[in-house]
Symmetry: C2
Amino acid sequence: MTAKAKTRQLVETIGELQYLLYAGADRSLLVVLQGPDASGKDGLIRHVFSGVNPQGVKVTSFGEPSKVEASHDFLWRVHLRTPAKGEIAVFNRSHYEGVLAERVRKLVSREIWAERYAVINSFESLLAESSTEILKFYLHISPEEQLERFRRRLADKSRHWKIEEADYDDRKLWLEYQTAAEEMLGRTSTKIAPWYVIPSDQKWFRNYAISRIILRSLRRMRLRTPEPQADIQKIKRKFHDEAEE
Amino acid sequence: MTAKAKTRQLVETIGELQYLLYAGADRSLLVVLQGPDASGKDGLIRHVFSGVNPQGVKVTSFGEPSKVEASHDFLWRVHLRTPAKGEIAVFNRSHYEGVLAERVRKLVSREIWAERYAVINSFESLLAESSTEILKFYLHISPEEQLERFRRRLADKSRHWKIEEADYDDRKLWLEYQTAAEEMLGRTSTKIAPWYVIPSDQKWFRNYAISRIILRSLRRMRLRTPEPQADIQKIKRKFHDEAEE
């Protein structure tokens, strides 16, 4: 079987387990996606989470903070979007921008971002203790592949609307981003919330690898159809009474 | 072609237009689903919106209000979940519970619910003026079909967790619900936010009819790939400079 076909199978099984997660409503899953522009975060979401019932999946893209968001601490807007029990939440970018773009673009001082690793770890422990499984994926692409993808975007008029000059300019900061990413991975990969670095030059590999990890994590939850809340026998009796009327 | 296959095609096209809606980010779509228990609201969402990229679709199920929600007016929690520009929001039950279950179960007085039709119409005008297309579907099933579906749920252990005694007891109020639904349809079906009553005893028909209406509504928006925000020529020059380095 090809990797693509295998991924489709994995995604289908993810959909089935998501139904049990939703039904049980006592655990949740948080999927964090980080990676440079054009690393394929949007594509990954489209491939892995289309096909899962959107009733139990909430995707949030964290862009430029709004005025209200910026007037709070950096975790505030993120905390609002964490998954409720029974839900899968997907973060397209996340609180990790606080130690990546904000650091590299010098939007905050070293004193500020250097404190954030510990704050993030403590925040994620809190989520984990509240029955949230956390999976963090860093989509790694080479600068050459990024250039190639930018080239294809520039050649395709239907994709011009997605292009921002700042994304392109970030290429000059590639090494600084790499340093920031490495420190982030080292400081915030924990047992309860590990980082997975996913080689993402090949889209089929990216989709396959991430689907597998998500599925494994859902399988480990040993999700089962929940026990009935109602007194089924009593309702059955009512039902038979009505049928005989 | 069978209706099921046709529905799959419609859903695929809905997915394509949703991408343009998301890209353009200047319009939004609100889909409201109402109907008795077992009328198929969950199934409709699974069939029509799985397959659409969850990045642009937000589904909210409105159940029993939380303590905080109940301490606000009945539109407060609903307003929070209306679609942002570029999004599709799906309401599994909605503010209409305020003139259906709350009325029939006598949770609010007639003076309160009787005022709500005008308030709802004004609220929906506000959304429409803010570029939100509103489609409201009432999933109609016969009491016999509901009984049959309850019977199948009771016979299937894996679905016992979904059963609530109150749903069953609501059958005694079938006529009251019908009266409330008819008044709701008459008072709140407006040009900008029409109600569609969907015969839903047949699941394939329900899915097909609703997909068609949603697709027609998206088509009427005449969605186009948005104009680029960035100066593409300038970026192309930068790109060529880098390539030549």
